[in-house]
């Protein structure tokens, strides 16, 4: 394998300070991405999954955010590096596909201007010297990689002149332009028409697999991770409640929240509609004590209110943070 | 049933959210140092204006008193800010000067704001040709810088405090008309306005009871910011001899009168000028603070 790196988040917490008080939106989350692995992170909107990724990529506003815990890349804690050094690692190894394909492209510049800018910067970092023609060639090749048929037209166009799907292909291309080891995709298909969602997802996972990259796919859709991810983490209210190989998770979900989420996926085969989970995400400034899920949990026990559940291992690579699986009880 | 219940529920929801808003607002106000400083300065200026006859060291200097044997005394005890070219105490005249500045602000806003709000509401609510006519008319007044328009109007009438007030008021409604027009246009699409209309509420009722309250915070912020701007325009007019006339103790007039004695009699110009700046600063800080608090765009 050409890129044998590992990313490991260890007990990562993110706290926002606002006038209403402080809110811990990611609470002691741990996560590992191995080389060549496509890891899915699933949870409702607002569960902290995007914040987790932004913490890793150093995209959170420093003024109002506190990050605790470690972000280890090949064993070195990125959080302890200087901002400059951390940024160098992030630029070299990671990249991201954003949720809103139009919003993540600058509306005032053509695709070509933006692609060339990014490529030129990459060249500079790599000490490559290329003229305009070579850069154009590279830009066209990049777009071809994401199966955009008429690269010249796309390069001339402004983002608003392209469809959402095309924009997202451009985004993926831009994410690939730095040849990252890890691509973080934050809800890459949410803003797209249902018809193109599958195409983009297929393209994304194919590119990751073919080019032997690693990926973190953040989504609120169980359906999305089921088909693409090797391993899946389920988050609720800032907490990783369950982690398992994709097949295991869908075959045997353990955490009551995971079970509820799976019920939310409309089954094309079944007659009944999704049951769903009653209630809404809690207020982070006054997060529930103990297990953050307990107010909505159908199986809540007294201990769930009092104490935060540790991770219980329930199978190979399968852990769950729920008192139901406390072997000692 | 559902329809008739809706406005009540809406109103309740709005009033509770309004109360919560006020709590949040006060919290944020206390933690916004510039807004607090602005409030302090503003209150100070208003108090000075009210109490000028009591706190002035030489109240006679605001009246008929002249003393040409002590004209242009530099700042020194007992004339801490010096005397002017008729031997009158500068500090006293500055303290009294705030009275005229604030009187201008009050009159202009009392005339300009209700008029502008009314025109903005009507234009925004009725739309169509009413809107077109009213808003184009507004544009005409805004097609020339406010100062120039005020100068043109006062000069054609006769320059004095009253006409300056008339001229500035004649402009000021336009800003509020635009502001309220914009708010009205966006609010009249809201469900609760539709609901009130379906219930048969009169247009006047909808404008005054449904739309206006939602525009109040923006109007309040605008008024606060206006106060500073009106003081500046009034001072500019007076400086050019087109506004308040002596012997009234007006800050802009004092600056203008003082320029004839520059550079030796610098205090005659600089101190009234700084007094203007202080008042404008106070209103601006307060206005900015309120704008952040209410999160409105004016």
């Amino acid at each position: 394998m050409k890129n044998a790196h590992t990313l490991r988040l260890h007990d990562l917490s993110v706290t926002f300070k606002g006038f209403e008080g402080t809110a811990r939106v990611v609470d002691h989350a741990s996560l590992t991405v191995n080389a060549g692995e496509l890891v899915g992170v699933v949870g409702e909107t607002g569960c902290g999954k995007s914040v987790l990724m932004r913490a890793v990529l150093d995209l959170l506003p420093a003024r109002t955010t506190r990050i605790d815990g470690a972000v280890e890349f090949d064993g070195a804690d990125l959080r302890r590096l200087s901002r400059r050094a951390r940024r160098a690692v992030i630029l070299a190894q990671f990249n991201m596909v954003f949720q809103d394909p139009v919003g993540s492209l600058n509306p005032f510049f053509t695709i070509g201007q933006q692609v060339r800018e990014v490529l030129a910067q990459a060249n500079r970092r790599l000490g490559r010297h290329e003229g305009g023609a070579a850069l154009d060639q590279r830009a066209r090749a990049l777009l071809a990689r994401v199966q955009l048929d008429d690269p010249d037209r796309v390069l001339r166009a402004y983002p608003f002149q392209l469809s959402g799907g095309m924009n997202q292909r451009v985004s993926i291309a831009l994410a690939l332009s730095t040849e990252p080891w890890l691509i973080v995709a934050d809800e890459p298909t949410t803003a797209l028409d249902v018809t193109v969602q599958a195409e983009i997802l297929t393209l994304f996972s194919r590119l990751v697999r073919e080019e032997e990259r690693s990926a973190l796919l953040i989504t609120h859709s169980m359906g999305v991770v089921r088909t693409t991810a090797d391993r899946v983490l389920v988050m609720y209210a800032g907490v990783v409640v369950e982690e398992a190989p994709a097949a295991d998770l869908f075959a045997a979900p353990r955490h009551p929240y995971t079970v509820g989420l799976l019920d939310c996926v409309p089954r094309l085969t079944g007659q009944e509609m999704a049951k769903g989970i009653p209630g809404t995400l809690p207020n982070y400034t006054a997060a529930p004590s103990g297990c953050r899920f307990h107010p909505r949990c159908p199986h809540a026990m007294p201990i769930c209110v009092q104490e935060r559940p540790p991770d219980f291992t329930v199978g190979a690579g399968h852990r769950v943070a729920c008192w139901l699986y406390d072997g000692t009880r | 049933m559902a329809v008739s219940a809706l406005p009540v529920a809406e109103a309740e929801a709005r009033s509770t959210s309004l109360r919560a808003d006020w709590r949040r607002t006060w919290y944020r106000f206390r933690h916004n140092p510039t807004a607090v400083i602005g409030l302090i300065i503003t209150v100070l200026v208003i108090l000075i204006a009210l109490l000028a006859p009591v706190i002035s060291p030489f109240p006679a200097s605001a009246g008929n008193f002249v003393d040409f044997s002590h004209m242009l005394t530099p700042p020194s005890w007992p004339h801490v800010l010096g005397t002017d070219n008729a031997g009158r105490d500068m500090l006293t005249r500055i303290l009294f000067g705030y009275r005229i500045s604030l009187a201008l602000v009050v009159v202009v806003l009392l005339i300009g704001v209700p008029l502008g709000v009314f025109i903005g509401l009507v234009a925004g609510y009725y739309g169509g040709w009413v809107e077109a006519v009213l808003m184009r008319f507004t544009d005409i007044f805004l097609s020339v810088p406010a100062l120039v328009m005020a100068m043109a109007i006062t000069s054609v009438l006769t320059p004095n405090l009253l006409n300056a007030m008339i001229a500035v008021s004649a402009l000021w409604w336009t800003w509020h008309a635009r502001l309220v027009h914009g708010i009205t246009v966006s609010l009249k699409q809201e469900d609760y306005v539709d609901a009130a209309r379906l219930m048969g509420a009169s247009s006047l009722h909808i404008m005054v009871r449904e739309i206006l309250p939602n525009a109040m915070s923006a109007i309040l912020v605008k008024i606060t910011l206006d106060a500073g701007f009106v003081i500046l325009i009034g001072a500019g007019l007076s400086y050019l001899g087109l506004g308040v006339q002596p012997p009234q103790a007006d800050l802009g007039t004092m600056v203008a009168a003082g320029t004839q004695d520059l550079p030796s009699g610098w205090w005659e110009t600089v101190f009234p000028g700084l007094a203007i700046s202080l008042a404008v600063l106070g209103f601006n800080l307060l206005g900015d603070g309120l704008r952040d608090l209410f999160d409105v765009d004016v």
Binding site: L57, L59, R63, L91, F94, N95, M96, F98, Q99, G103, S104, N106, F108, F109, Q114, E117, V118, Q121, A122, R125, Y158, F160, S171, L174, T178 | R136, D139, I140, S143, V144, P145, A146, L147, V148, M149, M151, A152, S155, V156, L157, G228, L232, G236, Y239, L240, L242, G252, V255, T259, L262, P263, W266, V270, G273, I276, S277, L278, V280, L281, L285
Partner: protein
């Protein structure tokens, strides 16, 4: 709607507003009590002399006839005769306009040239020392009346330090006739007249600073706010993550979207400088159209007042129109789709 019809509609609106302004000013100038003929001729004039002058100026005709004539003449630049200088208002304004334009352009350059980078830096350095200094500057610009700032600059640099001239446009000892632009500084450059260039430059410094302060603080505040807003956008994060430096993003990729809404304010600032010029030209004895207009207003020279206000209104409308069109041109979403 495409860009062409956007352009047409906007121009139509501007013309309509200017027409309205001309009616407003004309009515205002004609309804006032007073006897302009008597005023111009002085105390020794006979009643028939006054009548004759009123007739010459058409003051004895119904007001709508006067307006129609006035408008007809005004469209080809004839604003009538100034009662006091006894010259055509047009020529008076032609003589004085370039000086004001020169001052206003210089101030605009200061406003944009300093305001834009400062606003960007303040946004990048949010809550840092540059930001704090910028905010302080902006407050001073808003709160200190520009005429006071002008007087303070005169006191400090003119009277006390004695390093810069404080009145006029040129050292009166120098002789210079403008040629191409009518403005001293550019014409001196074109004619390679270095002493005049130097003198014009030093004369321009203080009034331009005093005139630009308020606009500068406006632009800085606005640009800071819109830059902060843009810097929060996803495409900025995306670009940062793709290796483009923060400075390069700020001054290129974020500046354009931040600047486009600010253009309206730049236009308004440019236009309002023509208003503030009335104060600054008075302070610095600058021989511009504002000083001319001020004299007309103080002397109630109605033709001149109306002429000057219309010219200022025209500049105001042109500036706003130009900025709208420029914004439409710079924003590809408007240019290519016409969505205003």
């Amino acid at each position: 709607m495409n860009y062409g019809s956007f352009l047409t509609r906007r121009t139509g609106q501007a013309i309509l507003v200017l027409l309205g302004l001309s009616v407003l000013m004309f009515v205002l100038a004609r309804i006032v009590p007073g006897d302009p003929g008597r005023l111009a001729l002085g105390p020794t004039a006979t009643a028939s002399q006054v009548k004759g002058l009123d007739h010459d100026f058409g003051l004895d005709q119904p007001i709508w006839v006067q307006y129609a004539k006035y408008l007809g003449n005004a469209t080809h630049g004839d604003f009538g005769q100034a009662l006091l200088t006894r010259r055509s208002v047009e020529r008076d304004m032609q003589d004085s306009f370039p000086a004001t334009l020169e001052l206003v352009l210089a101030s605009t350059i200061l406003v944009v040239g300093i305001g834009v980078p400062l606003g960007v830096l303040a946004a990048l350095n949010r809550d840092g020392p540059i930001d704090a200094a910028t905010r302080l500057l902006a407050l001073v610009g808003v709160a200190v009346p520009d005429f006071l700032l002008g007087i303070a600059l005169q006191l400090i640099f003119g009277y006390w330090l004695g390093v810069l001239p404080i009145s006029g446009q040129l050292d009166p000892n120098l002789q210079f006739s403008t040629s191409f632009t009518g403005m001293v500084l550019p014409d001196a450059l074109l004619q390679r007249n270095w002493p005049v260039l130097g003198s014009a430059f030093t004369h321009l410094i203080l009034p331009a600073i005093a005139l630009s302060a308020a606009g500068l603080s406006q632009v800085v505040r606005l640009l800071r706010a819109s830059m902060i807003e843009v810097l929060r956008r996803e495409h900025v994060r995306a670009m940062e993550l793709r290796g483009v430096s923060r400075m390069r993003i700020a001054f290129k990729y974020a500046l354009k979207p931040a600047l486009i809404p600010a253009l309206t304010v730049v236009g308004l600032t440019f236009a309002s400088l023509f208003g503030e010029a009335f104060l600054i030209e008075a302070v610095f004895s600058w021989p511009g159209i504002a000083a001319y207009g001020l004299r007309a207003m103080q002397e109630k020279d109605l033709n001149a007042i109306v002429g000057v206000v219309l010219v200022v209104g025209l500049m105001f409308s042109l500036a706003n129109l130009a900025m709208d069109l420029l914004r439409g041109y710079l924003d590809p979403r408007i240019r290519l789709k016409g969505a205003a």
